[in-house]
Symmetry: none
Subunit: 220 residues, 2 copies
Amino acid sequence: MNTKVAVVDDHQLVRTGLVQMVQSLPGWEVTIEAANGKDFIDQTNLLSPPDIVLLDIRMPIMDGYETALWIRSHLPETRVLVVSMVSREPAVIRMLRMGVYGFITKNSTQAELHQALSRIQQKQFHVNELVGNRIFHYFSENSTEQLPDEKNTITDREFIFLRKCCSELTYRQIAKEMYVSPRTIDTYRDHLFEKLQVRTRVGLVIYALRSGLIEVDDLV
Amino acid sequence: MNTKVAVVDDHQLVRTGLVQMVQSLPGWEVTIEAANGKDFIDQTNLLSPPDIVLLDIRMPIMDGYETALWIRSHLPETRVLVVSMVSREPAVIRMLRMGVYGFITKNSTQAELHQALSRIQQKQFHVNELVGNRIFHYFSENSTEQLPDEKNTITDREFIFLRKCCSELTYRQIAKEMYVSPRTIDTYRDHLFEKLQVRTRVGLVIYALRSGLIEVDDLV
DNA sequence: TAATAAAACAGTGAATACACCGATATTTAG
DNA sequence: CTAAATATCGGTGTATTCACTGTTTTATTA
């Protein structure tokens, strides 16, 4: 039986490329093709989910972070391979902490994709060389200082909220998008203000950008 | 004889997607596949150049702008169709001024790509609907709506204000720093909202960063 | 010099953001 | 198993932001 793969990316072209690459590998097949997380969820049969999800980070409606969290809690057997443009450390580390199995960039060759898929199938982690070196640096160089947390880690929900803050959405709209009450959003905000030592929403945006959790290109 | 197409994009995946789409259209074939402008030039035979070049903007070594200029001066019969990630880029106009024939985003469907290619083959211009509406007004003389471009310049005071917006200062504090009344600040803000087509202060910050008026490192 | 654009200023009211106070259920970690 | 952290929700009140309406003075430039 073939290994089932889902391809989730809002760019039709990239999707076509990925599907094409996967389909041409013997033993692999693409069962789901979705434009964003929401679309993926709608198409997913909980009883026979895909084995591996190729997931983009930047997507409208429901982005890669949210989708990864959903997969972790709803499809424990399904593993995620992130296919992204970005390779900045904090974003990658955040993703790995969310239970993602691998990370490759969009200029990977078919051979690299194949290798990544195979390794993840065997429950091994896989990161692109480009990405890998950066992470190595991150853990070796500034493991003593620089990391603003240990104690003040941003939680997953707060992180998703933080990303949505970097837009023109009001808090009320963010609440709707995250399916929680505006009060909960207030709490996320207050906690982040405290943790990140800022006082305004612009402060949050600045922190997100300076820390690399958000890239300028991510901004709408 | 088939219409010859070159695909120039640094992302292998996108390239694969584009090639796949073009090859599946009867009457069209891909003769060149390149990772950047330099690579494209090296592969191009000046005596039998491609009819249409699918060109990405952001590429290492030699980007879309340079490549478009080179094509215009060396391959007068070859027409360029830009395939870019972002539609909002003010670069679109610059590109069209450089003699580019069309513009589509990377989330276009195969049908849209086909349509664009066909129109350009007949020497008609083609822009994505998403992009198109914004540009249309720009080129029509009796337009009221304006794009954040040369035509609608940010004044000196507004610019200083814009930079100060990228901080945790309240408008009142900014007013104090700029030695004007808070009302005046309101006017600066309202004018920028109008000119830059945003609705919130975070929108201003995003514009400043994306346009390069402010660098991430400048942020306090 | 007349027309135009920029810079400064102002009122009102509604929407949003922020600052305190609090709570409970669940998950995670020591 | 307890303690801490997380995720969720609530009330009250103030501060700030934003949207709409204007005027006046000062440069610029055609």
